[in-house]
Amino acid sequence: MGFIVEVTSRSGRVIERHRINGSVATLGRAFDNDVILSDPYVDANHAVIEATEQGLQIRATRTGIPVWIGRKTIDETPALLASGDSVSLGRTHLRIYALDHPVASVLSFDRIEQLFSSLTTPSRLVMALTGFVALIALDTWLRSYQTMEFSRLVQELISYLTMTLAWATCWAVVARISRGEPRFFHHWLVAVIAVALNQVGEFLLEVIAFNTGSLTTVQMIRYLIEGACLAFALTLNLRFALRQSPVARHAYAQGFAWLIVGYAVLTAWSLDDLFLLYPEFDATVLPETFRVAPTITADDFTARTESLYSFTAAELK
């Protein structure tokens, strides 16, 4: 015997929980009720909930003071409730549970959760933000050879911050709805790490571009790096926002990230035969210390470039 009466907000957030040990509970504004409600639209003695052989039942104490179950109103005739049903009296929202109503399994507080909890303290967040701004500033500086323009740096910073904040906000909303805790800074930190990894990846790409000069290779590796960064961010965002099995989480994150990459690769591939007025090569130049590719002689060069003059019949069509 016994049941739980939850007083919730309109959106379903729990305000009070009452455990009723007997089989009957009265609800109303009067102080002789088991559950005392301070809503002016609720009658002094408004409703009665009873645990019976058939299950939980609710009824109004008299006509004219309706009790709402979903969109239906009832009066003195008792109505059956399922465990977890929502009920409204006046402007008060209630949820009624049987004592044996199942609860969700425990969330794991593993190393990643611990790591992010320790990283999202105010001082560490400030450090992360500073590091992020410094990285973007360095990147912007290295990419320009004119006198550094302050406005351009500010523009870059604003765009990166807006992007990561918007990303974090979306996930926080999802998390708030799904698990009741937004954990905004967790999501923001994930976005910042992903963007930073991508920036480091871009530099690696420049080294590859410098050494190979092949736009296609560079573009394909760029897709790989971007896909990996997106998959990384999605896995963690899903972990912090939704309740899922690790298998489902990885399937969603990897699946979505590589689907986008696959689409981009297919688009690039379908544009491959497009006629171009200009040659496609990568002009990236880095200091000589970044050279990995071997040096050849001018004779070797002309020998190797012989193959450039061979065109297939399809190309000549």
Partner: protein, 406 residues
């Protein structure tokens, strides 16, 4: 002045009947899609004009046909007989025999002599333009006569005559402001002989093969000349580079003097003015080469190389070509040892082939010198309509020209 006026009148009276308007008629609409001029050669049934006037009809005979219109208003069809694509000349045959015709001048023409150019500018009707002969255009692979008179669109292919009304050249191009160019009559004489000597007449099927043969022969001649020349060198920054390879090239230079900029860039750029018109979408024959010397003390090494990336990636070939004319480029990137201590070239070479003239290619070369801290030279050339062998010879010659000077 009065004498010149009466002379112009007498040349006009004598020659006008031999000058035609050449019309390119689009088959479906039956309307003209292009116009030019042409003239009857005496004692033959041949009409001379420019290649570029009739090129549409040559490339797409099913879509365009050639017609002529004489001063009496008679209009008839003309057939393409022969052409010289390099000198922009073509010979047509009219459908009925002609009674008139112009003869070639035998006497040499001298600077300052009066020249009369006839044609039909802007479809306005037969016009005579008096002007002066100002010598041979010397800085060009292909001789042209400099005519100080105003040629206008529509006059292409018309005759340029001396005071006796004899052919000295063919109207071909203008740079505006009374600077116009004529194809010397000797090339037309040669073309006439070539047409007469053909045992089998040139047919539409053979046009493209003929163009390829002419272009191939022309580039063989040009590149043999270029590759065997001793190229003069000039100093650019701390490197020696090729100067004006021959009088056929014009070189220009520039240095950025903006004190605000954290780097200095000196550029030298040479071009040959000779291009060959093949169709509205394809020109060929150009040879360009450029050097850029960049230094900086203010820029950190990575930023200096970013500057190189941007300035060096912008270069490409000048000649226009469409999808039906050329393939996409093939490119390759290599690091080649440089003729400078501790330095290496990053070289990109790109090649595309002509679809209708598979012996010919457009070739692009980009080299940037690395390993000299914040001093670098970029070298670039773009050559078009060249055979593989000549492109490779030119590349080797070009690569051997850049040497560390100090």
């Amino acid at each position: 002045m009065a004498r010149a006026d009466s002379e112009a009148r007498s040349v006009f009276d004598q020659a006008a009947a031999s000058v035609y308007q050449i019309l390119i008629i689009e088959a479906e609409s039956g309307n003209k899609s292009a116009i030019g001029s042409g003239f009857q050669l005496a004692d033959t049934d041949l009409v001379a004009t420019n290649f570029h006037v009739v090129s549409d009809a040559l490339h797409k005979p099913e879509k365009y046909r050639i017609e002529y219109l004489d001063t009496t208003g008679r209009r008839g069809e003309a057939k393409l007989v022969d052409f010289d694509v390099v000198h922009d000349l073509a010979l047509l045959r009219r459908d009925t025999a002609a009674t008139q015709g112009l003869t070639f001048a035998l006497a040499a023409i001298n600077k300052g002599d009066s020249v009369y150019s006839l044609g039909n500018p802007y479809d306005l009707g037969q016009t005579i333009i008096p002007g002066t002969y100002n010598g041979l255009l010397e800085r060009s692979f292909y001789q042209k006569l400099l005519f100080s008179g105003s040629l206008n669109p529509g006059m292409s292919g018309g005759p340029a005559l001396n005071e006796a009304g004899e052919i000295i050249g063919v109207n071909v191009a203008t740079s505006g402001n009374q600077i116009s160019f004529l194809v010397p009559a000797k090339y037309l004489v040669a073309l006439k002989q070539q047409a007469m000597a053909r045992s089998i007449p040139l047919t539409a099927e053979a046009y493209q093969t003929e163009i390829e043969a002419q272009l191939y022969a022309d580039q063989e001649y040009k590149y043999a000349l270029l590759v065997n020349l001793d190229w003069p060198t000039q100093k650019l920054g701390e490197m020696n580079v090729a100067g004006e390879v021959s009088a056929y090239f014009k070189c220009w230079g520039d240095t950025n003097d903006d004190k605000e900029l954290p780097y200095r860039m000196t550029e030298s750029s040479c071009t040959s003015e000779d291009t060959i018109y093949l169709s509205g979408s394809l020109q060929t024959g150009a040879i360009d080469y450029q050097y850029g010397w960049v230094t900086s003390e203010a820029l950190q090494s990575l930023r200096f190389h970013r500057l190189l990336t941007d300035s060096y990636g912008r270069m490409f070939t000048r000649n226009p070509a469409g999808e039906e004319d050329v393939t996409n480029y093939h490119c390759s990137t290599e690091f080649v040892g440089a003729d400078a201590p501790q330095a290496v070239w990053r070289v990109v070479q790109c090649v595309r082939q002509y679809k209708k003239y598979p012996k010919l290619f457009d070739v692009l070369f980009l080299g940037v010198l690395l390993g000299k801290d914040r001093r670098s030279l970029s070298s670039h050339f773009a050559i078009s309509g060249v055979s593989r062998e000549n492109a490779q010879l030119f590349t080797r010659k070009f690569m051997g020209m850049t040497k560390w000077a100090s």
